[in-house]
């Protein structure tokens, strides 16, 4: 587990200066079991937050009428996904998760650009941001 502030095997490489002040240092967490527990707990909490953020984003996307907020909610879900990726990347000891977060960031940026362009376009047409103003696909 690289760059882990909690790992006894790997003294922190990065957080030697400022971060050491706020984060528990390896010296403080001397018991291996405790360390492992705390490490796993961080990952678990990250995953939980990821799941909750995703659910929040989903709920927001489904229930908010404002198109811009809907897009914000998708960004929220992106965040959740990114968090989950990094958490799992940590577990697996692989950096691909982080690399993918870069891609997610890219996609989110592109999506934001396009989506906002669309929103502007739609807003010009109907003078409203209400998504229900656009329901031409209604059946029957």
């Amino acid at each position: 587990m690289i760059a882990s502030p909690f790992s006894s095997a790997n003294p922190s490489l990065l957080l030697n200066s400022s971060m050491h002040a706020i984060l528990p240092s390896s010296a403080e967490l001397s018991t291996p079991a405790l360390l492992a527990s705390s490490d796993a707990a961080t990952v678990n909490i990250a995953l939980l937050v990821s799941a909750l953020l995703f659910a929040c984003g989903l709920v927001g996307f489904l229930s908010r009428r404002n198109m811009i907020i809907m897009f914000l909610c998708t960004e929220l879900m992106f965040q959740a996904a990114a968090l989950a990726m990094i958490a799992f990347g940590k577990v697996h000891g692989d950096l691909s998760g982080q690399v993918f977060v870069i891609f997610i960031l890219t996609v989110a940026a592109a999506e934001a650009a396009l989506a906002l362009g669309l929103v502007v376009l739609l807003y010009r047409r109907r003078e409203t941001l209400d998504s229900e103003a656009w329901s031409e696909l209604r059946e029957a």
């Binding site: 996307f61 489904l62 229930s63 998504s131 656009w134 031409e136 696909l137 059946e139 029957a140």
Partner: protein, 749 residues
Amino acid sequence: MSLTASLSSILAPLPATLADAASATIKPAVASPDLSWAGLILLLPAISAVLCGLCAARGVKGKLPGVITALSLLGAFALTLMLYMRCPTDAPRTIHLFDWVSFAWGSGAAEGAKWTSFLAPFSLYVDSLTLLWMLFVTGLGSLIAIYATEYMESDVGKGYARFFGAVSIFLFAMGSLVMGGNLILLYLGWEGVGLASYLLIGYYYSKPSAVAAAKKAFIVNRIGDLGLALGIFLIWVNYGTVEYDALFQAVTASTDSLNDGSEWTKAAIPYCLMLGAFGKSAQFPLYVWLPDAMEGPTPVSALIHAATMVTAGIYLIARTYPLFQLDPGALTVVATIGCITALLAATIGMAQYDIKRVMAYSTVSQLGYMFLGLGVGTTFGAVYHVFTHAFFKALLFLCCGAIMHGMAGQLDLRKMSGLRNVKGFGIISWTFLIGCLCLAGFPFTAGFFSKDSIIAQAFGSGNDRFVLLGWIAVFTAFLTAYYTFRVWFRVCGGPTKYEPGDELHGHGGDDHGHGHGHGHGADDGHGHGGEWHPHGPRLAINGVLLLICLGAILAAVPAYLGGPHQENNWVMKMVSHSSAVGGIPAHDHGASHGADAHAHHALSFTGIADVHTATSVVASVAGILGIAIAAFFHLFNRKAADGLRQTLLSNSLTRWLPIAMENKWYVDEIYHATLRVPARALGHIFEFFDKSVIDGVFVDGGARIPAGLARVFQPLYNGVLQGYAWTMAFGVALIAAWVFWLWLQGGAA
């Protein structure tokens, strides 16, 4: 099985004489490739039909089609004569022309090899019965074709070629019916003559009645055809062959199963074939098409509906006579039906005014005699009657046609009288008389001999049922004599008086009608408003009448030369060398039953020992009585006939009789009400069911189920983005849950 059992319980057991006769053997056929030129007898009419079709297509104006047909038929007749001369009579000959419906299967199967092939080659089976039939078919056919060349001349350029094309088709089909070497070929001819009959009855196609009559003829015949087809299937199932030669050998080899009722498939064969014969030969209950068939041109009535085609049923039964001995009741049924038909048709014929219709009913009646003859066990009598009947009935029809031709389509006997004195109608009248005498069974005419041989066999059979039928036949002979001479006395006898038929006004029209407007308009000046004169026929018609009249007279010659029991009769010889031999009773009744038997035959009261002689006397008396009564009512005292009718009508007890007779016993109406109307109603019901229930409820209703389901889920697709998103997310969540669940369970296991 049940069919046989029920019929046997009704019907009498097999007469002893028939059981004896059944043992008569049929010689195996000899393949004679050297006679394959006999195929020309079939080919000539076929070529003629094609040529007539080409004439029609090219729009030939002229008598060319008639000439072609007449020549080809004459050629066929000549070839038949040649065949008669050349063909030895010791054994039947088979002539293989080409393979037709032939195929084989189960190449490896050794046992039961009979059922591994179906062979129906286009081959001819020539025995004396074939020759006899073909002689009068082609002979009369040629004569009538010649007659028709003149008779149909008003249609030259219009329907002339069609008419002769159909006649040629008929001759081809009749030839294959008679000469065909197997039942399938017979079936081809059987339906082929039906087609020709359809085309010719409907010849005056713009007359709805003619079209209806043609349709009726074909459809009623189809019922019989189905019977024939089923019979053929049964034959193949039982004997593994449909070829006559092999079939007869198989049947005669297994006569032990004759009275064995367990094999119902065998016992049902004659009944099926019988149905076919009844249809084609217009027997009760399928006779209804024949009187209507008189809508066709008269030569057609003479040729097809009197002389030849309608005797195909007789031919079928005579040809397959050995099979009719498979079931004890079969021949009894044939005899009974024949007798009923004879009587029924005679009663109807008595009350008709249309002379062609009278002749039609008399044909039905005479065909009934023939079936009676077959049924009581004298194929000779039946065939001889066919032979004589062919001549005299053709003669009668041709006379009717000539009268009609000359009288502008007049056929009502109330509107013509004393034609014998009209110029040009002399030959017609006297040949007509000869025909009538034959039909009436006047002593020493051809019809007398042939009819008597049938009735005598009925009386002499020693079977009470047959004796009863014989008495009915005698009574029918009396009726026959009456209605025949009713016609003659009305039309040819008495004071000269006539009025033209309804075709006088049909000349200018485009409509065919009875298109006998034969170009005499200029001579006679008849037409709209002009004075009308009847005109006599010219050479072709008169010549043919005389020739056929001669034939009708000469048809009696074999009987004169036949010896005491007709054993030397030419027809008898022909029949006895054929497959119908089983139906020829032992020549000498004395020989088989002893001298005492003579004293006990049904006509013993006459004091005449020989049943033939006794029958002759009785039938002669009946015939002459009928003629006398006819003379009284229709020659000397025509008022009395109307008076008698009035008397019958005025009496409430008897008034049904003339009404029913004049209305043909309402048989057509009964059929209409019991068969056609329900079937048509059923058709409407089925159509409704098809459209509303099957298509409407099940198909369209089934198609609405998805639509209904879609309505349930339609709110999910409400056009709002989040609606779709909700659905998608929910689906994704469910799928994710499920997949994870599976993974969890799989991992746990």
